[in-house]
């Protein structure tokens, strides 16, 4: 357990605020989706906020992340704005990708968000490549790769971590293990008790932590970040988390035993951290209530912005396929 005295109040309240922002964003997204306001599909990270925020808090602003199909939280934790993110879910011109990417593809390179990704495991080599770029350029930035337990069973996991380890790249491989790949429990398709144990195969540090404890995640990832920044190479951190929703919004998740959701609710990272903030006297109930209300307002405003924003012009369907000679390359 983290010591009470070592964190600033500002830092602790920021963790709380970021988790609440993500939770309310996801709840709003679910509401809009259920009302039929969003096209396509969304994958929600409700329940995983402790892992997502704790890991991002260990990064500097100039550091990089890659994310996944369940990526809203990762991007918000790295600084993405709720209004532009929600506008992207709506397919609007004001969204991060001008409506061309949607829920699974929020990117803001200026914020170090190299992209959520619709292909499971595709972000892992991209993150390793970003870390290699830092090594080649000689900058001091690290790249944190968020991925899920199922991505750990893609070949890209092995190929990328092997190279990152061989070349001591400044990368942190953060596996958010929520126990399920769509409907398949991880233990049914994987022999080891943890995924972090695989770090041994690459001779790098590997650690499994409680992803519902935001400070425990922060501590584990901070250690990995410091190691990467020093030039000592990558680490694998596995956070045990709960995916409250099914794979996608609307998936009844009948494949899961009811105990899973009971455990999930008993391990709500926001409820746990809120209680701890008050118990340790790091914050008052009034302070936290103020944050919750502020986040409510922010999300309401973001939703209003997204809804009121225009769709892209139809002609934009043909732009930005190429950066040079686009028109000719699109024509033939």
């Amino acid at each position: 357990m983290a010591k009470a005295g070592k964190y600033s109040k500002e830092f602790l309240l920021k963790l709380f605020e970021d988790m609440v922002r993500i939770r309310k964003f996801e709840e709003k997204a679910a509401e809009c989706f259920t009302k039929g306001m969003l096209a396509g599909n969304i994958h929600l990270c409700i329940g995983q906020e402790g892992s997502t925020v704790g890991a991002a808090a260990a990064l500097e602003e100039a550091d990089y992340i890659t994310s996944t199909h369940r990526g809203h939280g990762h991007c918000l934790a790295k600084g993405a704005k709720t209004d532009r993110a929600l506008a992207e879910l709506f397919g609007k011109k004001t969204g991060y990708c001008q409506g061309k990417g949607g829920s699974m593809h929020i990117v803001d390179v200026d914020l170090g968000i190299l992209g959520a990704n619709g292909i499971v495991g595709a972000g892992i080599p991209i993150a390793a490549g970003s870390a290699l770029a830092s090594k080649i350029k000689g900058d001091k930035q690290v790249t944190l790769c968020y991925f899920g337990d199922s991505a750990a069973n893609q070949g890209t996991f092995h190929e990328s971590i092997n190279m990152a380890a061989a070349w001591r790249l400044p990368a942190i491989f953060l596996c958010e293990n929520n126990g399920y790949g769509v409907s398949v429990p991880i233990h049914k398709v994987t022999n080891t008790k943890t995924l972090a144990v695989r770090a041994k195969a690459y001779d790098i540090p590997g650690e499994t932590v409680d992803g519902s404890d935001v400070l425990a995640v922060y501590e584990a990832v901070k250690k990995a970040v410091d190691r990467a920044r020093k030039g000592d190479g990558p680490s694998l951190v596995e956070t045990k988390v709960y995916r409250w929703q099914g794979h996608y919004c609307g998936d009844p998740a009948a494949y899961r035993p009811k105990e899973y959701l009971e455990d999930a609710h008993a391990n709500d990272p926001i409820v746990l951290f809120r209680a701890r903030l008050i118990k340790e006297k790091w914050a008052t109930d009034a302070q936290l209530a103020e944050i919750e209300e502020r986040m409510d307002r922010e999300i309401e405003e973001a939703a209003a912005f997204a809804e009121a924003s225009p769709y892209p012009e139809v002609s934009e369907a043909l732009t930005d396929v190429y950066s040079q000679d686009n028109e000719r390359c699109v024509e033939r």
């Binding site: 890659t66 409506g99 870390a131 190279m163 950066s323 040079q324 033939r332």
Partner: protein
């Protein structure tokens, strides 16, 4: 002024010039550093540019190709080598779903200046998994550019243009052209992507082709000339972007056109070009668009079998004569 260089040395020179010019150009792939690549393209690069600009990767095509995408996002200009273009099967996701799509999917936020170099083609007795022509596969993917040079001079100038291009470019080099020695201009020059080149002017029929088949077409044209046929050979050089203006000019002159490709006929580039020509130049045509292409089979190992399944000069000669119906 010009000098004699093999195609592989011309490619090496183009890559070398770009690495000297721009420190963001980094090469990675299997056997690139210590060995200097299996076809000798990067010989001496490790000593000159060091291990962080000339990377020997493990045999992990999916991993290192995906890493090139991440490197490009961070402002580098990676030049990736796949030892054979057939190995695309091991890394199609980073090429097709990542490099090709991410500019569009991010609303133009990302530029991904990556060159994917790969030897291609049949005739080297490498059998079915090391002999394919996959142009139509790459051409089908929006977001990729595709360059297939034939001559040493073109290979150098086009590679330099591909490296400077801000989009992902697949650059296919025919293995059986590497050793061919040809004139290459002295000094710095670039050949713009999307500019076809008339390798032989003629007035009776246009053979549209690229890569190694350019030489087959030229040889066939010589034979046909002896029989009174005047054939034009148009080397596309890049398939995306496509120089349709050059095709239009040539077809409007000869009124007969045949697309010649080494790759398999079914779903091939010839089908696409034929359709475009029929759509837009139908009234100019005196004969249906001809196609000479590889058989719809796996490239066989045994030399007499292999030679029978991709276009040879005599087959081109008789196809032209049949098309001109003389």
């Amino acid at each position: 002024m010009s000098k004699k260089l093999s195609v592989s040395k011309a490619i090496r020179e183009g890559l070398h010039e770009e690495m000297v010019r721009d420190p963001n150009v980094v090469v990675l792939g299997e056997d690139m550093a210590d060995m200097g690549s299996v076809f000798g393209i990067t010989q001496g690069f490790l000593e000159e540019f060091g291990p962080w600009r000339v990377l020997d990767t493990p045999i992990s095509e999916s991993g290192f190709t995906g890493m090139a995408v991440g490197m490009a996002m961070r402002g580098l200009r990676p030049v990736v080598e796949w030892m054979y273009n057939d190995f695309i099967t091991c890394c199609l996701d980073p090429v097709m779903n990542q490099a090709a799509k991410l500019r569009y999917m991010t609303g133009g936020q990302l530029t991904l200046p990556i060159v994917f170099r790969a030897p291609m083609g049949a005739g080297r007795r490498n059998a079915g998994q090391h002999s394919q022509c996959l142009e139509s596969l790459f051409m089908h993917i929006p977001g990729l550019k595709l360059v297939c040079p034939s001559t040493a001079a073109d290979a150098k100038g086009l590679l330099k243009a591909a490296i400077r291009d801000d989009d992902p470019v697949v650059f296919l080099e025919h293995k059986l052209l590497y050793a061919k020695k040809e004139d290459v201009p002295e000094g710095e020059y670039i050949i713009e992507l999307g500019k076809a080149d008339v390798k032989r002017p003629g007035k009776d029929l246009t053979i549209i082709t690229w890569s190694r088949q350019v030489y087959f077409a030229l040889e066939a044209a010589d034979k046909l000339a002896a029989e009174g046929y005047d054939v034009e050979v148009l080397d596309l050089r890049s398939l995306v972007p496509l120089d349709f203006q050059a095709i239009r000019e040539s077809v409007c002159k000869t009124h007969n056109v045949l697309v010649l490709e080494e790759g398999v006929k079914r779903g091939g580039v010839g089908a696409e070009l034929g359709a475009q020509i029929m759509d837009e130049l139908f009234d100019e045509l005196d004969s249906p668009v001809g196609r000479v292409a590889g058989a719809n089979v796996v490239s066989p190992f045994s030399p007499p079998l292999e030679d029978a399944v991709f276009p040879q000069v005599d087959e081109i000669v008789s196809a032209v004569k049949q098309q001109l119906n003389r």
